[in-house]
């Protein structure tokens, strides 16, 4: 493919999403479906182009044309380009968008309501603006698309119009605008105030900055990107928003938006600032581990399916930031190999998590549409009624829990192996960082597998705990297709990980002398394909033995033994009971309050009672951070209000005072 065709194809895929969004506005019956199909096609193209650019030898591909001048004065001199690094994320965002669009094609709401039309329009625009962030190569373009994406997401959260939706939208608006302001300010400080500076120019100008000014800019940018990525303590908007967004949008919110923030952070840290300040890895490590640990604990505690998915994203973003922090430590200590390995682990984890989370979001969107319940306590027993969906969901859960041979396992393997291999050669500060990172990541790995197993088991296994769950039916195959694609991508992403990593440029990690190749990191190697083949061969052997040694037809249905009680949904383990041990072990962090009220029905008989049990998990972040912050702001607003007394004399007095002050300063 020549560069010229590549550029044209890129323009088609980029503008295709805009066209798709416009098509949904047309006033005929099938316009939404056509819009979604166009969206799907242009994002499929985007995935391919992102992959081509990410794996191509040439480092950058710049648009030869100026969108601006002819189209609108707003686009004046806005440069677009896609380099290898942005190509990875371009493929990621388009991949998630593709799954979302595919899901939206299959999920055609019965009534083409105004709200559904709005969602389709906003969805296309959101994908367009996310692509724009990745294509932008100067401050104006980046900030413009960033702000556009924030506002579109605000409207998408708002679209449900319930009280919860409004609250979530306002919370999101508050945090996203602060983040956008911080990012804009940080970029301007970095560029020395030049508005149209391209990123490569900023890299020059930033090297002239003094270290305090550089520190201010890096702090602003880190806070801005961390807040958008959903890191603790800025994570509060993510679960609230996920609960109220329309079914098809959840995948984009959880899988694509945080990854774009990770892209922005890495773009600044790796390509723009002259060197990583010594304190930055420590800050990123603390933010990352805090998010990963609290995210995992809240994932274990939570009972609402959508909120569990959101907190699991918080956990994963925290893990990725931890990987990045270790890479930065390694870079600052001159350990190039360790930095490469952990950075590629972070990128691979971002890709794998995005694909897996998008698939899992569509699974839960299907459940939300069909059953209209998202509280896990009212689900259960779905595996018997939806065997195909439950099988796909099982693969996705195993993959996201970083179990072999799926792609997230390869990412975490690369990180752990690189850290363990790098330990003995490390300097003392690096060694401490590696130990903290290793202990933290493995601790979170265990907790997050516990949380995901809970999510799957309580939703799909056991007896149904509500009428809706008992009447669940296998969904249409169109609704299954996106999650099936994502499960397949995770499987092949794991099996072919050496190939993928080497084509992304991690040639130092991959040995490709054998047929499939393997990943080799400091004293350890991983053969995903070999591992799977041996496992499959042993599984086949056991199947064979089962049929040879015992009679497979000698079986019958029986009732479950439940210790003499009537079996049924009352005895099935719920989310609350499953997480009981973990809740007890981490009670000092979670601050759960348990209340048990037992009232005897008959005064003389202590055994026949009415029992009321209540469990509340309070959010430490709301109580300790956001509530004091909001009451502090209210207090400040009240003080300021005293100035607005409403009497004209006071205002005239203010003007006079201002004049006097101006004169004093001027003279």
């Amino acid at each position: 493919m020549t560069a010229q065709t590549l550029v044209i194809a890129l323009a088609v895929s980029f503008l295709g999403t805009l066209v798709a969004s416009g098509l949904a506005l047309l006033p005929f019956k099938e316009s939404q479906r056509i819009s979604n199909v166009v969206l799907f096609l242009s994002t499929v193209m985007g995935v391919g182009l992102g992959a081509v650019v990410a794996t191509s030898g040439s480092l950058t591909l710049a648009f030869p044309f100026d969108l601006g001048e002819t189209v609108s004065p707003f686009f004046f001199n806005m440069n677009f380009m896609l380099d290898r690094f942005a190509g990875i994320f371009y493929a990621l965002v388009n991949g998630v968008a593709m799954l979302t669009a595919l899901y939206a094609v299959a999920y055609a709401p019965a009534v083409s309501s105004l709200q559904a039309r709005r969602v389709t329009v906003l969805l296309g625009l959101l994908i367009f603006s996310l692509q724009g962030i990745l294509l932008a190569s100067n401050i104006v373009g980046f900030v413009f698309f960033w702000e556009l994406a924030s506002l579109l997401l605000f409207f998408l959260i708002m679209v449900g119009r319930s009280k919860a939706a409004r609250q979530a939208a306002v919370l999101y608006l508050f945090i996203s605008q602060l983040a956008a302001a911080a990012i804009t300010a940080g970029l301007f400080v970095l560029s020395g105030g030049a508005l149209l500076s391209t990123f490569s120019l900023i890299a020059y100008s930033a090297s002239a900055l003094t270290s305090p000014i550089l520190a201010v800019s890096v702090v602003l940018l880190t806070v801005g990107f961390a807040a958008t990525a959903g890191l603790v303590p800025f994570h509060v908007w993510l679960p609230e928003a996920q609960v109220v967004t329309p079914p098809a949008v959840g995948a984009l919110l959880l899988a694509a938006v945080p990854k774009v923030a990770i892209y922005g952070f890495l773009r600044v840290i790796l390509f723009m600032i002259p060197g990583v300040p010594a304190w930055l890895p420590i800050v990123v490590l603390i933010l990352g581990l805090l998010s990963a640990i609290f995210g995992a604990l809240y994932t274990i505690m939570e009972r609402d399916g959508q909120r569990i998915l959101a907190f699991s994203t918080v956990t994963n973003v925290g893990l990725i930031f931890t990987f990045i922090a270790v890479a930065l430590f390694a870079a600052n200590n001159g350990n190039e190999a360790l930095m490469q390995a952990t950075l590629f682990a972070a990128l691979f984890q971002a890709l794998a998590h995005a694909v897996g989370k998008a698939g899992l979001s569509t699974v839960f969107a299907t459940l939300a549409i069909q059953l209209e319940v998202m509280n896990l306590e009212h689900l259960g027993g779905l595996a018997r009624r939806m065997p195909q969906l439950s099988l796909i969901a099982c693969v996705l859960i195993l993959a996201l829990a970083a179990l072999p041979p799926f792609a997230p396992f390869v990412a975490q393997w690369t990180f752990i192996q690189a850290v363990v291999g790098g330990l003995s050669a490390a300097t003392l500060p690096l060694m401490v960082a590696l130990l903290v990172g290793l202990a933290g990541v493995t601790f979170v790995g265990g907790l997050s597998s516990l949380a995901l197993v809970k999510l799957y088991a309580v939703t799909f296994l056991g007896e149904p705990r509500s009428e809706q769950a008992a009447q669940a039916k296998e969904p249409r195959w169109g609704l299954l297709l996106p999650s099936l694609l994502s499960a397949a991508a995770l499987l092949f992403g794991g099996l072919l990980a050496p190939k993928i990593l080497s084509s992304l440029g991690a040639t130092s990690l991959v040995v490709t002398n054998s047929a499939s190749g393997f990943i080799r990191v400091d004293g350890g190697s991983l053969l995903p394909l070999g591992l799977t083949v041996v496992f499959a061969a042993l599984l086949a052997l056991i199947f064979l033995l089962r049929y040879v040694v015992s009679n497979p037809d000698f079986e019958r249905q029986a009732v479950a033994w439940t210790g003499g009680q009537a079996s049924g949904s009352r005895l099935t383990f719920t989310a609350t009971s499953f997480s009981g041990p973990a809740r007890y072990f981490f009670r000092f962090l979670l601050r759960t309050q348990k209340e048990l009220v037992v009232t005897p029905l008959i005064a003389t008989n202590p055994w026949i009672t009415r029992t009321r049990f209540q469990l509340t998990v309070s959010s430490v972040w709301y109580e300790r951070l956001y509530r004091p912050l909001s009451s502090g702001l209210m207090w400040l607003a009240n003080i300021v209000r005293k100035v607005q007394s409403g009497s004209i004399q006071v205002y005239v007095g203010f003007i006079a005072l201002a004049l006097v002050l101006a004169l004093i300063i001027a003279l």
């Binding site: 296994l461 056991g462 190697s525 056991i542």
Partner: protein, 322 residues
């Protein structure tokens, strides 16, 4: 010898000895507690009996049926790739410690899913408890093996064993005293992974002690045989692995190998049996002298093991620096 032949010998030996290990354990325990006890080869007869019995299926989904196969396959995988009767045979490229830990975690996850598939609170208690313990044990396992990796400068468990036997084929602990802490930690991990005292009572089906065994409550016939066999395999694999870390001697490979040929295979079988006997006797002594911990006190055990593993790793790094 051919690496594939070596692998098949190891698989056959371990698969054959596994029920005997459990039999020896119950036999020793009974004798220590003043009972006559069953004969050590009773587990073979139990397995044969279970395989002939009817498979009773409670109302459940496909997960219930998939679990025994995945769990037994994971156990076979561990028995194949780990250095139990020798090292460097076919499949040992797969014995990276993170891979081994993950395959073992895969089996624990499927056990939990299979148990929760039946809507019963007995298996639910077992599932939630064992999943919590497994989750909190993850960092300890990784840190312990990381300590071994730092000492032996490789992350492949087979190469670790080869490195140890190259340093001192008789008793590497003498040459490398830092090995003591990781091996101790590995022992504590083995107790937790296999549901032994003080974490759980593996020979009881009572609800209060049902941490690990409650999971099997709804399985019967061939499926129960598969799960029982998998758990005895896991016990055998851990016992032989720890024994080999202490004494990497008299294996099919290594400086003090028994040579090749049928006699050598028989010799290695006898040595493995002796190692298993000693390990089971010490486990029986341990289980007869301590009592089971209350489940809600297990965080003390888990925290202590975590810090032991961390201390092992730090000590290994400090010695490495000196």
């Amino acid at each position: 010898m051919n690496p594939l032949v070596l692998a098949l010998i190891q698989l056959t030996l371990v698969l054959g000895l596994a029920p005997l290990a459990v039999g020896l354990l119950t036999f020793f325990k009974a004798r220590l507690q003043g009972r006559h006890g069953d004969l050590p080869w009773l587990p073979y007869l139990t397995l044969a009996k279970l395989l002939r019995k009817e498979n009773l299926l409670p109302p459940a989904s496909w997960m219930f049926r998939a679990t025994p196969f995945v769990v037994l396959t994971s156990a076979f995988f561990l028995a194949l790739v780990l250095p139990l009767t020798g090292f460097g045979h076919f499949g040992t490229e797969l014995s990276n410690f993170i891979v081994v830990t993950a395959v073992s975690a895969l089996s624990s996850v499927f056990l939990v899913l299979g148990a929760l598939d039946v809507g019963s609170s007995l298996s639910g208690v077992g599932a939630s408890r064992s999943m919590t313990v497994m989750a909190l044990l993850q960092p300890t396992i990784i840190l312990t093996f990381a300590a071994l990796a730092v000492i032996t400068e490789t992350s492949n468990i087979n190469e670790m064993m080869a490195a140890l036997s190259a340093i001192n084929p008789v008793f590497p602990l003498v040459a490398l005293p830092t090995l003591l802490l990781p091996i101790l930690s590995l022992g504590l991990i083995a107790l937790a992974e296999n549901g032994r005292y003080p974490l759980a009572n593996a020979s009881s089906l009572l609800e209060l002690a049902a941490d690990q065994r409650g999971i099997f409550a709804h399985y019967s016939g061939p499926y129960l045989a598969m799960l029982e066999y998998a758990s005895s395999l896991k016990l055998t694999v851990f016992a032989l692995l720890i024994a080999n870390f202490i004494l990497p001697t008299a294996l099919l490979t290594g400086p003090l190998a028994l040579g090749s040929g049928l006699l050598a295979v028989l010799g290695v079988g006898a040595v493995s049996l002796a190692k298993l006997g000693v390990m089971m006797l010490s486990l029986a002594c341990l289980e007869s002298t301590i009592s089971r911990m209350r489940f809600y006190r297990l965080q003390e055990y888990l925290t202590a093991t975590f810090f032991l593993a961390l201390a092992a790793l730090v000590l290994a790094l400090v010695v490495d620096l000196l």
